[in-house]
Symmetry: D2
Subunit: 494 residues, 4 copies
Amino acid sequence: MPKDLLRNARLSKDVLPIVENFLSSMKDDVKIAFYDVLGTQVHNIMLIEQGIVKKEEGMRILGELQAIKQEIIENSIKYDMSFEDIHPFIEDRVIQKIGIEIGGKLHSGRSRNDQVVLDIKLKIRDDIIFLASKLLQLGDLFLSLAEKYEATICPLYTHTQRAQIGSFSHYFLSYATELLRHLSRLWDCLNRTNSNPLGAGAVGGTSFPIDRQRTTDLLGFDTIQVNSLDAVSSRDYTLELISVYSILAIFISRIAEDLVLWSSGEFKFIIFDDTFSSVSSALPQKKNPDTAELLRAGSAEIIGKMLATFMIQKSLCSGYNRDFQQIKPLIWDSQEKLSSCLDILIGIISSFKINDKNMESATLESNLIALDIAEYLVISYGISFRMAHSIIGTLVQQNGQNLTNSKEIQKIAKEKFNLSLQINQQELDRFRNPRYCLEMRKSLGNPSQKQQENMIQDLKRDFSQVKEKFDAKNKYIKACYEKINDIVVQYIQG
Amino acid sequence: MPKDLLRNARLSKDVLPIVENFLSSMKDDVKIAFYDVLGTQVHNIMLIEQGIVKKEEGMRILGELQAIKQEIIENSIKYDMSFEDIHPFIEDRVIQKIGIEIGGKLHSGRSRNDQVVLDIKLKIRDDIIFLASKLLQLGDLFLSLAEKYEATICPLYTHTQRAQIGSFSHYFLSYATELLRHLSRLWDCLNRTNSNPLGAGAVGGTSFPIDRQRTTDLLGFDTIQVNSLDAVSSRDYTLELISVYSILAIFISRIAEDLVLWSSGEFKFIIFDDTFSSVSSALPQKKNPDTAELLRAGSAEIIGKMLATFMIQKSLCSGYNRDFQQIKPLIWDSQEKLSSCLDILIGIISSFKINDKNMESATLESNLIALDIAEYLVISYGISFRMAHSIIGTLVQQNGQNLTNSKEIQKIAKEKFNLSLQINQQELDRFRNPRYCLEMRKSLGNPSQKQQENMIQDLKRDFSQVKEKFDAKNKYIKACYEKINDIVVQYIQG
Amino acid sequence: MPKDLLRNARLSKDVLPIVENFLSSMKDDVKIAFYDVLGTQVHNIMLIEQGIVKKEEGMRILGELQAIKQEIIENSIKYDMSFEDIHPFIEDRVIQKIGIEIGGKLHSGRSRNDQVVLDIKLKIRDDIIFLASKLLQLGDLFLSLAEKYEATICPLYTHTQRAQIGSFSHYFLSYATELLRHLSRLWDCLNRTNSNPLGAGAVGGTSFPIDRQRTTDLLGFDTIQVNSLDAVSSRDYTLELISVYSILAIFISRIAEDLVLWSSGEFKFIIFDDTFSSVSSALPQKKNPDTAELLRAGSAEIIGKMLATFMIQKSLCSGYNRDFQQIKPLIWDSQEKLSSCLDILIGIISSFKINDKNMESATLESNLIALDIAEYLVISYGISFRMAHSIIGTLVQQNGQNLTNSKEIQKIAKEKFNLSLQINQQELDRFRNPRYCLEMRKSLGNPSQKQQENMIQDLKRDFSQVKEKFDAKNKYIKACYEKINDIVVQYIQG
Amino acid sequence: MPKDLLRNARLSKDVLPIVENFLSSMKDDVKIAFYDVLGTQVHNIMLIEQGIVKKEEGMRILGELQAIKQEIIENSIKYDMSFEDIHPFIEDRVIQKIGIEIGGKLHSGRSRNDQVVLDIKLKIRDDIIFLASKLLQLGDLFLSLAEKYEATICPLYTHTQRAQIGSFSHYFLSYATELLRHLSRLWDCLNRTNSNPLGAGAVGGTSFPIDRQRTTDLLGFDTIQVNSLDAVSSRDYTLELISVYSILAIFISRIAEDLVLWSSGEFKFIIFDDTFSSVSSALPQKKNPDTAELLRAGSAEIIGKMLATFMIQKSLCSGYNRDFQQIKPLIWDSQEKLSSCLDILIGIISSFKINDKNMESATLESNLIALDIAEYLVISYGISFRMAHSIIGTLVQQNGQNLTNSKEIQKIAKEKFNLSLQINQQELDRFRNPRYCLEMRKSLGNPSQKQQENMIQDLKRDFSQVKEKFDAKNKYIKACYEKINDIVVQYIQG
């Protein structure tokens, strides 16, 4: 048994249960079991091709690995949690079945140090593609909500204070726009991670004549991670990955905060669907946005894991260090947390109802037209913007709510700047209609319906291009996996 | 005076000194003063071209801005630190000189909310290019050290334990390899940041007929950051930037830890140059690697700032929030810290001396040839790797240091696996020479001299390509700035 | 000159400006200059008393130190920023004035390693007392606001949703209550820090016959930090301090968030005083709670520094490490940030105005009396709470706002639980008055006026006790400082 | 069924499985199940005593709760993981057994909001006491190692460079000294947490005439957490707890780093026992200190959780927020991680072997006697310390290793300071014996054997006092629990 073999040759004592439990990463490694077997198959195909393992031996090794892979896929495998990690567990299975004379060859020319990096990278590749598909789904939803609400008047905020008249769709388009950048970061991270560490060995390579290009091609990697010390020492790709996750988590926290505020008794802009709400054990009237609150907390959880990932690597010297082991649960738990947060977010925003009357009346209550009026004064009466801004600011201070009183404006303009303005009261009155204010907006990307429509079209095109890229990458990887399977089957069948 | 104008129209009371001091970002904004004026010039060129500002008015605005820009370049400008931030300070200067009737027009169609994002992005663009140039310099140094030490035998470590025979150059090549990924991340971050927020206004755009494509082209941005809510609400680019910085900081901490260990009395691999060493106030014999220790601490400082940058944004709702202001010093201080860390790192490693005898003797003292021997057994005697590993492991446990004793190996092989091996003692003896062991390594990217040479060639090519990209981008931006200057000068000269 | 002496004896080369700049902590050390001189005086008083320094030599050393101390107090000292830190700067000043034969004795039996810990601890002691005095001031303010608003009806929230009828004072009493725990943490931290490291030397003590108890008594420490390795290696007190700061920062962020929400156009509970508000450069109507937003951001800044303080120490081995140097600015900047945040917080809440009508009407609009009604049903009609909760919950779902309709309640009770209730409509109607609901509350610590009054009395007593403790400690330390001064003056005067 | 009752009265739709899964904290709440039932029993004893629940009803409620408590103790309970949290799960069990008419009374006058705080505080109290017992065990071990190694010569380090001659025991005494501060922090945290939130209700108390003092006394709390808003809004005690954990984690990382270095091939001070070592899958000779590396990583994991705990609370407004839920797994996982780290640390250091020859020879190789010699020059020849320091520093630079050459010293003293010294070569030669150097040390707390013995005595006394305090607290709490049980049994038996 390699478990004992591995340990007992060098060390004289058995491992204690508390040490075994402390050291073992089996619980986390279950998530890379498939990749471990896949990588081991590819490694052994190469060993056979290079003559390091004889074909008839390789057949048996690949055959047993194939059986294990099948059990993993069918979820019927029984893991022995007392192993230190997944790698000796798999090797042990093979050796127990086909003996150490042949089975003992499967690890030739590699080490757990390059092997675990391989497994992690294969999983990251698939994890990114999986998350991207959720984000693309979320993007579609944002765009459909934007289409639905492009004529729904709603305040835009700065400093959590009502700032300008806008449309409810503008929120969803701003989310969608940022979402594209998150997808772009995931794509870059995927490509930077997609290089093959296998063949680095423990830290300084091997004297077996292995072919690193072959395993690279079979596994669908873009490049070889050439330098053996780099391959086992560096975990920068985990830092990039979890940073990208964390940036996304902050984005989700922003939307969650919007949702919490909008659903409060003070805003009353949206009503959560009952399925995404919770009740109180004591207060009979309460219907709470707990799901959104937990999205908000989720950002803290993921960022905590990011910091642990950075901190683990701080002050570590070159070479593989066992500390690295603890990175695995951090990045995988983060991915799962993000994934469930995205499901919940999609659920909340695809089911809430809006109260468009409250949204629109919120734009009327405050002086959200102040800038529109000030700009009107500049455009129609030629005064400088800073004067107009000052006049309207003074009007707000003195008079409070009514900004469409031409006489007041004229009076302040006279007092403050000795300007004699003859303002058209009828034109001014039009600004009482929020739709009019929106239509007047001229800049690209503003919340007017016309701009909303343009942005929706552009974003649809952008999302569709991103989707194509990810789909193509996914297809390519899956094709590589199938090809590996075909080769294995051919060997097994002789 | 706009400072008072801005404030006093809307608010009835003056600001208190303690509030002014608490709110003001002037100290940090000095670093974007140049960009602020540049952006304001471009905005006003566009306002003139769009007919929002008359040409003769624009001349005067641009003229005064040009004077300010010159003072900033010459570092002769006097900042009034009582302003809330740089934007009203600049506007105030212009208005004081040319009056509110004309000077009051310069802010038409924009807000501090889009303006500050513009300034930050312009600075980030230049900051990244600056850091990249330092990293490229560091890369050159790594490669030249690799060339210098490619025949210097040195242990490679795992778990801070000697693991395999390697070469000292292998460290520098592993550093250089990772460095390329850092450069690649900076490049991606640069490109993702390089879109123009100007024209988003406060949050919902403007009714002035501004031309956002024009300011985008003039400032050398790749794209427009179209959605106005996205432009003022999102700070994901700051999160990406400081994440990339932090990943780089962890890399530096790894090298620093290597340097601290190598220079210790126990390793004695390198001797710090006196210029990069410190003494003790009490212990006369001490010569300490303080510079490397502070590089290590630097990673903690930068990652602390990263956390603050993330945490500031946690749970903020959509729209501009004043909290964002505090992001500026975090990313700028991090950049300066990184920059000085890189200078020091370059200084340390370009000046230390090595003790190659200690390095080589460290490879002889331990059993670093264990894997080489085990692989030799596999290759020459056809036993499985797991058996060979077990035999040599047992030998180490029983016998300690001498692994080239064929009789012992044969005895263990017999006892453990009933194998009858006839091992060639002469061949075995060759492994006592670390250079022989290295030559035997066959895998791509191993520490043998041949592989070192190949990697050096490849990395030189890679670095040169990266350098070209950054240089071209830098040239393009500088050309844009000059073109802006030319346009301004033409206007001023009428 | 000791600067050169210190360096040039052991090292052959001068320090480079960039290295000097990188290594030097002079900028931060200005803040401990006073403590450094004080500690050096005390150390030398002890050296004289122990006969290690002759009295006539000690006179001159103490005299020059006294001159420096005076300059520091008067802020007339000129710091040479090219020194590595404050310690050699002070020593150098003395030696330059009185020569190396005598001045060179002042550092006998100590090292910068124990000296810097001493300086840090002396400063922390005073910093804590200073912060505590601000917190005590804040506590007074909370209590006076509680007295002012104890009859002001206001909703209490859970999940950012209106939950129960309460009083506005209840917020301030909850703040005051938590504040006492922050003060208690500061007190514990002060006491745990208050032990004397001086005499630990570089790391292993000294062969000079120093008297550590004497310096401990003179400086007013509670105990000696006996173990010399502990004294120079441990920085756990900095971790505790910055944790306590950070916990306080989170508390401030909570109040800041309350203030931002209450001042929003949706809540309209409070109106910020103009002095604590900001305007918009574009939107003429805006009056923003920027001060509160920056309080919120401040928590992120302090917690970022906390992370850096922890991370610096991660994976450092025993002994003094230069990395520790970077802890100083982190804890001192945090203290200053906290201090200014407290000033601003005190300013905001001592100047805002409230809109009590909005607060009270917010309690009427929602179904905040649901629990009061449910409990009434239990108390008056003997049904179980879970039944009553379910009946009222159903009523809310079916009927929305009106919960005081006895017939509806009876109908649901019948349908749901087959209960035949005869509810007194008149009694039910009383619950429409929020004051009645509050009066009905019976539990200790609830928001009714009676409980508010009780809590105010108790908290006044608690704050007064805390204040006494801190005042006594402060007086004792100041008395020690004066006594040191007296001794010094006696020596100088011979 | 209360699960449905709770939800279905107010909300019209069932919860979706993905939402249930996202919201539910059942997995974490299993750890407070015992405390939840205990708290509910105490609450109901009080309800009976106050006449809110009739005695005969209370009997049945307490009886069913007792059955559940028994199942929890025996670990035979079946948790229904579809509940949102533990509280309705328990209530549901009771109601299912004894009906809603009676069982529905058990939640009268409280809410999940005060209930969950109660459960958390009860668990924290026990968790702290449990951790303290491990730390006390560790302290004993440190002291016994100190006794064992008080005569073992070993270098002390600064800057990871050998600094002074010391004793191996000095490390363990420095650890023990710091450990006392960790215990002190835990004690303070325990006392600050030990106040009773029960009776705060949802946020604003209750109209039931509950007796909060009674539940406080029964549960062994020191005080009532009076203010109802404070009781449900504040989580500062969780921040303090996890900060204290994190400070402890940094301490463990320091010891772990010491262990990793000491066990390296370069230091060779200690040899890990095989039970606490790991092997390599590729390198047959390797025996790695993986356990110590994972201790080091553990600090990063715990501090990551600390940051999440802080970050969750950032920018939350007053009142209960669902975000709080996610704090539970953070503090409990940290406690379990710390606990297992302490077990492993105890295991490693109670089983390693030392190589005292390597330790002692490390003190001879370097110039660790430089300070001893310099101080000797001061004491015996009356020159100033700074001169002596400079002379010996120059000697090191010029001459390297031999510092006991009186002629060289005299020559440098003459050249540098024109001093004519007549140094006693015989006395100087004594410093070649490290034991002599140690004996010469005079300061309190130095590594000489005499001081080691003193410190051991003092620390034994200190640890014994701490142990008494924690034991007494533990006994008191357990007695309270038994008294609760007695009261319950009396009620059940009528």
